[in-house]
Amino acid sequence: MFACIYIPNASGDAHAALVHCAKMFSPRAENTSAGTVVFDIEGLERLFGSYSEIATKVAGEARARGLEANVAVASNADAAICAARGFGGITVLNQGTEEKRLRDLPLSVLSPSPEILETLERWGIRTLGAFAKLPAADVSDRLGHEGIQLHKLARGAGLRPLVPHVEPLRFVAVTELDYEIVTIEPLTFILSRMLDGICTRLRSRNLATHEVHLSLGTYVRVLNLPLPVRNPKILTKLLILDLEAHPPGVEVRRVEVEAIPAKPRVVQSGLFVPLSPEPEKLELTLARVKAVVGEENVGSAEILDTHRPDAFEIKKFGVINERGLKPATTGPRSIALRQFRPPFEATVQLRNGLPMWIAFHGVHGPIATASGPWHTSGDWWRPTMWDREEWDIEVLDALYRIYYDVHMDRWYAEGVYD
């Protein structure tokens, strides 16, 4: 058996109150539409009495929330909806009497599409009873699939399963403190306990988290993880390292942690998988390294699509999963450049346009060989423009790359070939 609570023109708050009211009687409540909530009352007689008593109690609960609702009980959800929409107050339809009881109700209780409603009105059909008398085959020919569905509802013969409303799962833990905390260390114990509980709940639902929100009073930090984790020790350590890098700077009286659930990572390991760090452990290692050298100094390099010298950016490092055997490179090897960042300003003496002598950062002497100039320029429309003449030189048994900055009218040592 199913019960339906209905309020015409319900606001969002009123609808939420209806859902709450239904949940007080049954966990299987369907959020059908604005102002309409259906719920399963099968087997509730021992708790709340007969179906009419249940309907009375439901109406009473709604009234306690300031809502004058129609309540109907029927053997199927759709008949209950039609009855609640069509009859005022409390209605109980016994099994087998639905078609008879619903026959005088207007077609609008079925919520048909405007086209079908207009067609039926043109035919002179204005009640469910009149509609139910039409042969099903002819209704199918003229009104199609929707017509057949409405025809079944008009006969009180709905058979669809209930789609229960499920509250979104929230994994939140809150701790109110008696005294203010000003240092991070005591938070370790509090966070550890809170995350332990959250991770237990996550594990019980076979979930993990890829995003953790930490609120310390008004101070909020969001920890984004590259993959779902449900190990409380790792999460605690990551949050503490994050707080050490970004201290709250306020006294903490309230700690709130919320983990956004995600499906856990499933990995198929193999005997011949190449060596790579465990992702959970890698995240912790990276957080620790960031605490030592700074966040901007850890990651993988990405070369930018420009001819600008030394143009790259550091992006977040994560283990790449796709694998493929590439040919190992055992051909002739290439010289590598070691960059001086920033470049050293140099003093260069020229003869016939060729650099002959150089001094920079502890290196000074005659230039044995020089090759150049290689002229590069770009971004002339931006303040970050460059225009330079590069040279490869050999000084004191070492090879350097130097350049003359045309705009600055200065020489620089850019790096050493090694």
Partner: protein
């Protein structure tokens, strides 16, 4: 003779409780990985896993080229590598041109020696990296020399039962007996036309835990294609 007698007495006293109490815990056969420089691999048999390899030499001796080659070889085999850059000197462009897959290389840019040591320690403890390269070449020599030998032995102990190769690049030999393989690099001539074509580098084995080969050095030509 005295030590041999002492050893025999100890072994008989400990009996069956401890087998071979005064011999090496384990004489492991070190698995090796290639460097990507064929003549060097032929000379050394590759870099030993679970051990420290040191490359040292002056500027332009080819240390960085060897490092890039090692990283290129490892990333081509889908291994994840880490570079602890002592003075932010790594050039991603020439590395990518030489075949290093940058998204498999964790680059940590340091400015001070203690950052380099702490970071290396964390990465080795974290585990899972195929190669960890510690680049100390641009740090002041006095700082590099001040690294206590105990630090190197700690690193060696951390990785000894793992497949990680720790490569140390330095201006002079500093790892000493903690290293399984020490290689000295030296520039032996440059090749110029109107432009720099390449350089010849001499790589010499200074120390190796493996049996020493008949020839202790190899000459490698490094071309300049990837930097021009």
């Amino acid at each position: 003779m005295q030590s041999a007698i002492l050893r025999a007495r100890l072994e008989s006293a400990l009996g069956e409780r401890i087998s071979s109490p005064v011999t090496d815990v384990e004489r492991r056969v070190l698995e090796s990985v290639p460097t990507g420089i064929a003549p060097l691999d032929a000379l050394t048999g590759g870099l030993p896993r679970g051990a420290i390899t040191e490359f040292f030499g002056p500027p332009s001796s080819g240390r960085t080229s060897a490092m890039i080659s090692i990283l290129s070889e490892a990333t081509a085999r889908d291994e994840v590598c880490a570079l602890v850059d002592g003075n932010n000197a790594f050039d991603p462009k020439s590395a990518a041109a030489a075949g290093v897959e940058l998204n498999r290389l964790l680059w940590v840019r340091c400015r001070k020696l203690d950052q380099v040591l702490k970071t290396t320690d964390l990465l080795l403890q974290g585990g899972g990296f195929g190669r960890v390269v510690m680049d100390l070449t641009d740090l002041p020599l006095s700082h590099v020399r001040s690294i206590p030998l105990a630090s190197w032995f700690r690193f060696q102990r951390t990785i000894e039962r793992t497949p990680t190769v720790l490569v140390v690049m330095s201006p002079e030999s500093i790892v000493k007996s903690a290293a399984a393989l020490v290689l000295r690099m030296e520039m032996r001539g440059t090749d110029w036309s109107t432009l720099l074509n390449g350089l010849n580098s001499n790589i010499e084995i200074v120390r190796s835990q493996r049996s020493r080969p008949l020839k202790s050095y190899v000459r490698v030509y490094l071309h300049s294609e990837c930097v021009r």
